[in-house]
Amino acid sequence: MKWEMSRVVKTVTDILVAPIIIFGIYLILHGHLTPGGGFQGGAVIASSTALLIIAYGTLGKHKKDLSSIEAVGLTLFILIAFLGIGSTVFYNYITGTGFPFGGSLPYHGPNPGYINTGGTITFMNLMVGIEVAAALSLILWMMSKRGGVMEPKGSSSKKAEGKD
């Protein structure tokens, strides 16, 4: 089903989508420092997808890509969790090494925090963010594609009525 909103809605969507996605990425990457995290950032990114779907009516042919991204995010999350099985599952094996995000805080206690800390927690935030963003976008898109009874004019509604 195809629909489009007016030019005003499209322009505002074009302006707003990039800041919303950047805010979601900020929430995901700063999940170990500030309130937020993988689920919240992924939901914010998915809300930008909702804006795009409402304004333009379509996302193109990316259904396979979205489901692949979701499966890859979940698989990498499980992989990161089970890589620490030498001691326990969900063991933080990156903290204290020289790996990215493996640094340590300068002192313990109230401090502003540094982004080069966190270890596996940062990577898990990233993976959960990817998975949640792809999953919620996919749910939104599948829900939006099945409409068509209310739409008076459009390319697909007549054929759908004829078949039903």
């Binding site: 309130p35 939901a43 809300s47 409402i54 939104l140 939006s144 209310m150 739409e151």
Partner: protein, 85 residues
């Protein structure tokens, strides 16, 4: 807690009750969905005032944006008024 915060919390709770009653009593389903979104937004504000910013962000993103969008997508496919046919 400061009294101004308590007054804001009281106003937010009254607004929550009003929007929840509006969800029940609206006959137009799209109006009811929008009222549900407003209720979720006020709930997110209440979470923030109770010092749970994580839950507030999740509630604002999922409850106010995604749930309203999914409800409106579902209402488009069916009847807009409650109880017709």
């Amino acid at each position: 807690m400061e009294p101004i915060i308590q007054i804001i919390q009281l106003l937010v709770l009254i607004g929550l009750i009003v929007t929840a009653l509006a969800v029940v009593f609206f006959k137009d389903l799209i109006s009811a969905a929008i009222a549900l979104g407003a209720s979720s937004l006020l709930l997110a504000l209440q979470f923030y005032l109770l010092r749970a910013p994580d839950v507030a962000i999740a509630e604002a993103a999922v409850g106010a944006a995604l749930t309203t969008a999914i409800f409106i997508f579902a209402i488009r496919s069916t009847d807009r008024k409650e109880g017709c046919k």
